[in-house]
């Protein structure tokens, strides 16, 4: 049974079907789909294809509601407040595009807001003759209250801010934000909150009715093992009357739930397998067990990275550390420009040459390694990663030049 399979090589082989010879240390980007979930997806594809009319007219609707109820229960949400969307980017766009803005309204994010969200915010702000502000977050972060203070001072200085886009866990910088507090501060000031929980679901405990933002969107296909194209959008009851989907279809003006449910003929199976996915998640031990395992691995990995490369995790308060990810400040590499393009090339080179899948990102003029750990990883994966990184040309190493390695940004 699933509960008895050991994490590491064993579960990788029996449950995940990953390509042999590759080492997967970037769960955060695309997640992973275990074999039992893949099988269920294929089963549903067969069901759809052998009787499409019956599937689309009867079966799909029933499975969608079951999946929605299961997703809601998992997230401490009222099922009436929750709908499925293909990904968090769609969730964010949905809210931004249907909010009844007034001309000149402004939006607030941070310098760590995910690029797609920044683009969406800028685009919308332009269309309403408003502005998109980003308050700055700098390493090292001593206390999460700094972040809250930065936000509130921005809100107090820019009274036209109507909506704050908050990351529950930022990408790629892996910071867990003090969202409960931030939401409370926004409420005090009558500012709406849209939380992007793309990385939160399946990594941290999420209780939406308790958290009570105005909007929350998050992926199931990152840390919760669904096929890709599965995310949720939760909308507080009082906002539902105007929150319409991007796609207007059959159920226009029939109410929040109905409008989002039918989005033209498409493949909704990634949503429909949620019950199976949650069962798998539970069977293998759930949030705590996974985090425990990942934490131990990541600690060892960080130790290795320090010993062999002089690379150190970024300083953040304990409360802001992501359970299954770490952000490591890397020394300078020769031959790669420290920007998006340089990082992209670096990741591809490591993937092609060493078959190690990892994410190096450029943030504020420095290279960082975003480490992810999941149940199919073991220490040898991280050894392979460090081996691969050691091959590169270091411009200066902490062992020869410790002073230059203060994490300055």
């Amino acid at each position: 049974s699933m509960t008895e399979i050991e994490f590491g090589r064993s579960i990788r082989r029996t449950c995940f079907g990953f390509k042999e010879g590759y080492f997967f240390l970037n769960h955060g980007s695309y997640g992973a789909v275990p074999v039992p979930v893949r099988e269920r997806q294929k089963e549903l594809l067969d069901l759809m294809n052998e009787n499409p009319d019956r599937f689309y007219k009867i079966v799909e609707g029933r499975l969608y509601d079951e999946a929605r109820r299961a997703a809601s229960a998992f997230l401490g949400a009222k099922a009436e407040n929750l709908v499925f969307v293909p990904n968090a980017t769609t969730g964010v766009n949905t809210v931004l595009r249907s909010l009844p803005w007034d001309d000149g309204d402004e939006i607030l994010g941070t310098n760590f807001t995910f690029t797609s969200n920044v683009n969406a915010c800028r685009s919308v702000a332009d269309s309403i003759n408003g502005k998109f502000h980003q308050f700055q977050i700098r390493f090292p972060i001593k206390d999460s209250s700094e972040i809250v203070k930065s936000m509130t001072s921005y809100l107090d200085n820019f009274q036209k801010i109507r909506l704050v886009v908050l990351d529950h866990i930022s990408s790629p910088t892996t910071l867990v934000f003090p969202v409960k507090e931030m939401i409370a501060e926004c409420r005090k000031r009558h500012v709406l909150t849209l939380v992007d929980g793309a990385h939160a679901i399946g990594q941290v405990e999420v209780n939406l009715e308790d958290l009570r933002p105005d909007f929350y969107t998050g992926n199931f296909h990152k840390w919760l093992y669904t096929p890709r194209g599965c995310a949720i959008l939760w909308v507080a009851e009082e906002q539902q009357k105007w929150c319409a989907p991007l796609l207007i279809s059959l159920q226009y003006k029939k109410g929040y739930q109905k409008e989002f449910k039918i989005q033209g003929t498409r493949d909704n199976i990634p949503y429909l397998v949620v019950p199976e996915v949650l069962k798998f998640f539970e069977d293998i031990g759930g949030l705590e067990k996974i985090h425990c395992y990942a934490d131990t691995l990541l600690d060892s990995a960080c130790q290795m990275l320090w010993n062999r490369l002089g690379a150190r995790p970024v300083e953040v308060p304990e409360s802001m550390k992501a359970p299954n990810m770490r952000l490591i400040h890397l020394p300078r590499f020769k031959g790669y420009t420290i920007n998006f393009e340089g990082a992209r090339k670096l990741n591809l080179d490591i993937m092609e040459k060493h078959k190690v899948v990892c994410l190096i990102c450029a943030v504020q003029g420095q290279f960082f390694l975003r480490l992810s750990a999941n149940v199919y990883n073991e220490l040898s994966d991280f050894v392979k990663l460090v081996d691969a990184l050691s091959q590169f040309n270091w411009e200066d190493s902490i062992h020869t030049n410790p002073v230059s390695h203060k994490c300055k940004l």
């Binding site: 390509k19 590759y22 997640g31 294929k42 296909h221 890709r228 003929t265 493949d267």
Partner: protein, 402 residues
């Protein structure tokens, strides 16, 4: 043509499709059908993605995507630079209508045969400019000559000079009419209005040459008549509009150009798109448009004639030039025995539902001009026996008062 020898009907059904036993499928127009080898390929592709997600999403998807767009563009007589892939026609229409820079007073002209979801989209798009009202050109049976429709459309635009976009079906959904688009586009151009074509049913049924037809926007499904898995359609946008016709989702590639913007819409499953080349190959292997449509048209013509005779009704009165090879509508008798099948929208839904649930036959029924019409479809896995089964049932329901 490797498979040209295979006989359409039961043989093709058995060899290439795998439908649920004991059901009769006369509604290809709604959801299409996916041949078994393409279903297998889709599952394999999903495994490829899942076995190495990073390699796929960082690298492998690009050539898959460009190959798919190339194949799609060739099939549609289009410049691949003008074609992007979307999940369904509804998405394509929503994209254009939402991206258009509406000003107060601007109007949309569609028709009374515009698909219901699209009518909703028009209402929503018109919210800013007219408070939700949009014009619908009335097209009523009998239709004597397609030129009537062209004239009526031209008059409608002249009567409402604030019309900015004309939304036309290539093939109407509830009524299976092939519209005289070339003439209609001409008249629109003369009047400086933009033309958005909903060609959901067109690819695979009729010849399309988009660069020649040259509307402003064209949307079409591959998952209806071209055998791809569902969630596979395209949007063609004239070069002149590509700078403002942006996708519904603003994502990573914002402002990076038409192709790049539409290519990235957040992480999702694009495997249906990647099966376009295989689906087109299957279409060709089955004989292509000529052989397929010849079969379906002959079958549908006979079948509908037979049903109309047995029910003592008739077909819709339309010119031959407006008939389509895979879809046809038959007038149903008034149901004097059963309130459940009244000549209303509810009646149409009840009838359709009952035929599916109680009798395992898939059809579409619509209420048009105060009467119920049954929309029948034909594809290469159908044969006359399918329609005879339906006819037996309809006689029972309408003539014998079951």
């Amino acid at each position: 043509m490797a498979k040209a020898g295979v006989e359409f009907g039961a043989e093709v059904k058995k060899k290439y499709f795998h439908f649920k036993e004991a059901f009769t499928f006369l509604n290809h127009a709604s959801y299409g059908a996916v041949p078994t080898h393409i279903r297998e390929k889709q599952k394999q592709l999903l495994d490829v993605v899942n076995d190495n997600p990073d390699v796929f999403y960082r690298q492998a998807w690009k050539p898959f995507m460009s190959t798919a767009i190339q194949a799609a563009a060739e099939f549609l007589g289009a410049d691949p630079n003008n074609v992007v892939l979307v999940q369904n026609a509804t998405t394509g229409i929503n994209t254009v209508l939402k991206a258009f820079p509406w000003k107060k007073g601007d109007e949309i002209l569609a028709t009374t045969h515009t698909y219901c979801s699209i009518q909703n989209t028009c209402r929503k798009a018109a919210q800013i400019s007219t408070g939700g009202h949009f014009h619908q050109l009335e097209i009523n049976f009998p239709i004597k000559d397609e030129e009537e429709i062209v004239r009526d459309m031209a008059s409608a635009i002249d009567e409402h000079p604030s019309v900015r976009i004309v939304l036309l079906d290539h093939i109407t959904s509830p009524t299976a009419l092939l519209m005289p688009l070339k003439r209609m586009i001409e008249e629109c151009r003369k009047r400086g209005v933009l033309v958005l074509i909903d060609g959901a049913h067109a690819p695979g049924q009729i010849e399309i040459n988009l660069e020649e037809l040259c509307p402003d926007f064209y949307v079409g499904n591959f998952h209806k008549w071209v055998y791809t898995p569902r969630g596979c359609a395209f949007l063609w946008v004239h070069k002149d509009h590509q700078n403002w016709c942006t996708p519904l989702v603003t994502s990573y590639m914002y402002d990076k150009g038409f192709q790049l913007e539409y290519g990235q819409q957040g992480t999702r499953d694009d495997t249906p798109y990647f099966l376009i080349p295989d689906a087109i190959q299957f279409y060709k292997d089955m004989g292509g448009r000529e052989r397929i449509t010849k079969y379906t048209k002959e079958l549908l013509d006979s079948a509908c004639k037979m049903i109309a005779e047995r029910l003592q009704t008739r077909l819709a009165e339309i010119p031959k030039s407006m008939e389509v090879p895979g879809m046809k509508i038959v007038l149903l008798p008034d149901c004097t025995y059963n309130e459940r099948y009244s000549n209303t929208w509810e009646g149409s839904q009840n009838l359709q539902f009952d035929i599916m649930n109680k009798h395992r036959i898939h059809v579409t029924v619509n209420s048009i001009q105060g009467r119920l019409y049954m929309r029948l479809a034909a594809n290469i896995y159908n044969e006359m026996a399918d329609y005879e089964k339906l006819a037996d049932l309809l006689v029972k329901l309408f003539k014998e008062g079951e």
